[in-house]
């Protein structure tokens, strides 16, 4: 990804991206690298806004560097604000209309990226939402979700051929797990609990 696109994403977060930039971002909205960058920039924003994030046990964001970052950006902002006013001056009416379009397009781009992130199972932080969505994208019939949000096509609901194939995979996986006595009794217990009549 080139620096110009990265800068455009940064601008989009600040609601400062122009129409062309938004179109470029939208065109690349399926790009994993772009989504990852969007996620990272948002995390930085979260740190800046909330200072720290709660986490179950340990959060890398517990490092108290938010004030330093805030200060750095504020300093940059104060310097830049003067330059920005000098560069752009006041907006005329036609520019306001264009600005309105750009703002809405920006919202659309941000929405597309956010939704992509939710669908993106590669993101650690949103994994539970990602899991919840797998059922709707992974199965023909749109199986119901469990309370845990895990997609399920459990053994009893499989066609006989598929159940047989699943058992075959389970047997092979158990065979792999048993080797060297790494996993104790559990791999065999899992096999023994299968409905082997389907095999």
């Amino acid at each position: 990804m080139d620096d110009r696109l990265k800068e455009s994403i940064s601008a989009l977060l600040d609601d400062e991206a122009d129409e062309l930039e938004i179109r470029r971002i939208l065109n690349k909205s399926g790009d994993y690298e772009l989504r990852d960058l969007w996620g990272r920039y948002n995390k930085v924003s979260d740190v800046l806004s909330s200072g720290r994030q709660a986490h179950d046990q340990f959060s890398p964001m517990d490092i108290d560097i938010s004030s330093r970052i805030s200060q750095a950006i504020d300093d940059e902002g104060e310097l830049g604000l003067v330059e920005a006013e000098e560069e752009h001056g006041s907006l005329v009416e036609s520019e306001k209309s264009q600005a309105s379009f750009i703002r809405w397009a920006g919202v659309a781009a941000a929405f597309v990226l956010s939704v992509s992130l939710v669908f993106n199972p590669f993101s650690n932080d949103i994994v539970s939402e990602g899991e919840a969505l797998i059922a709707s994208v992974g199965f023909d019939g749109g199986e119901p979700l469990t309370d845990a949000g895990l997609s399920v096509l459990d053994e009893p609901s499989l066609a006989p051929d598929h159940a047989r194939k699943l058992n075959e995979y389970m047997l092979r996986h158990a065979g792999n797990s048993v080797t060297g006595g790494r996993s104790g009794l559990m791999p065999l217990v899992r096999v023994a609990s299968l409905s082997m009549t389907a095999y």
């Binding site: 990265k6 940064s10 797998i134 845990a148 499989l158 699943l166 609990s193």
Partner: protein
């Protein structure tokens, strides 16, 4: 430099600062831990890994996955360096599993015997986790959570908690005098139980006979001997073709890899990965009748994620099976890609 360029640069700096601080902080957390002796919880787990092989016992346990419950009898013996085990289903139709070291035979209803194959012993990494069952400290936290009673025996309760969402967590109950695992829960990231293993009676015993480890076969009955059907090798499979896993959860290594990065799949079509506690297998085969439907199927804690892969004019089915979350299996399956060795 314009105003927005300055903000972009500041944002980049912020990202770098966070990453640098994170590395420093993780370094400061990890390095001292490596210097200290194992904690009490670690010692319990190390002992469990040894005891589950060398301790002889017989017992009855309940196993739950989802809403399905089974009761089984187990007889385990370690004698003269040989580990033997017999697992007998107590519910429904009769079925047994016999294991002698790594050799496993399933005895099914209808007088059928199936031998389980292993794909592991080939590579140098096979020994990496063999004879041990230890979670990697970078990816799990281990802590003692008090004491309890299981099947009339005093037990210590140990939590093995995943640090990320790419693997499951465990609660283990170890019998206090021997360290034998007498109860376990496998939990998802929401703390919900996906699998329960629980002895209702257990006896530590040194008097297990050969007869107890024999399958319950009636005299004169002929058993058919079968193998698990081979995974179909695609006809057009080039000898120089390898399969590369684009992504693995951190801490997982390939158990039958033949190179150090552990990411190149040989055309044996079946590969296995482990982080020392959780494991999954990858199967790659030609698309054909009887393939699993695309997407995830779950059996308790075990997921099978099937992904159809089109490469050039050919269709393949990549299936990841293991005790890992759906997203982990999905991500592994969907990032596997072929490559032709030069």
């Amino acid at each position: 430099m314009s105003f927005r360029q300055r903000k972009y640069q500041a944002r980049l700096s912020a990202c770098s600062l966070i990453c640098s601080s994170l590395i420093l902080l993780l370094g400061s957390l990890v390095i001292p831990q490596q210097g200290f002796a194992s904690t009490e919880a670690d010692e319990w787990l190390e002992n469990m890994a040894s005891v589950m092989k060398t301790q002889s016992y017989r017992g009855v346990f309940v196993y739950n996955r989802g809403n399905i419950s089974s009761s089984m009898k187990v007889i385990h013996r370690y004698k003269d360096g040989v580990e033997r085990e017999r697992l007998v289903q107590l519910d429904g139709e009769m079925g047994e599993i016999l294991r002698t070291d790594d050799k496993v035979i399933c005895i099914l209803p209808g007088n059928r015997e199936i031998s389980l194959e292993q794909s592991i012993p080939a590579g140098p990494f096979a020994g990496a986790f063999s004879r041990t069952l230890m979670p990697d400290k970078d990816h799990y936290t281990v802590a003692i959570k008090g004491e309890d009673r299981v099947a009339g025996l005093s037990a210590v309760k140990i939590a093995v908690t995943a640090k990320d969402t790419y693997r499951y967590s465990y609660l283990l109950w170890l019998e206090k005098t021997s360290g034998l695992l007498v109860k376990s829960l496998l939990l998802n990231e929401h703390g919900q139980t996906l699998e329960l293993f629980h002895y209702t009676s257990i006896e530590l015993a040194d008097n297990i006979t050969d007869e107890e480890l024999q399958a319950d076969k009636k005299a004169g009955v002929v058993f058919s001997h079968e193998q698990v059907p081979a995974i179909k090798a695609p006809r057009e499979w080039a000898e120089t073709m390898n399969w590369r896993v684009g992504w693995l959860p951190q801490g997982f290594i390939r158990l039958n890899a033949d190179n150090e990065d552990g990411a190149v799949l040989q055309p044996s079509h079946i590969q296995a990965f482990s982080d020392g506690f959780a494991s999954f297998s990858v199967f790659i085969e030609a698309l054909g009748e009887g393939n699993m439907p695309e997407g995830a199927s779950t059996v308790g804690a075990t997921v099978a994620y099937a992904h159809r892969l089109k490469w050039q004019r050919h269709d393949y089915m990549v299936t990841v099976v293991g005790e890992v979350p759906v997203t982990t299996a999905m991500k592994v399956a969907e990032t596997i890609a072929p490559e032709i060795a030069k």
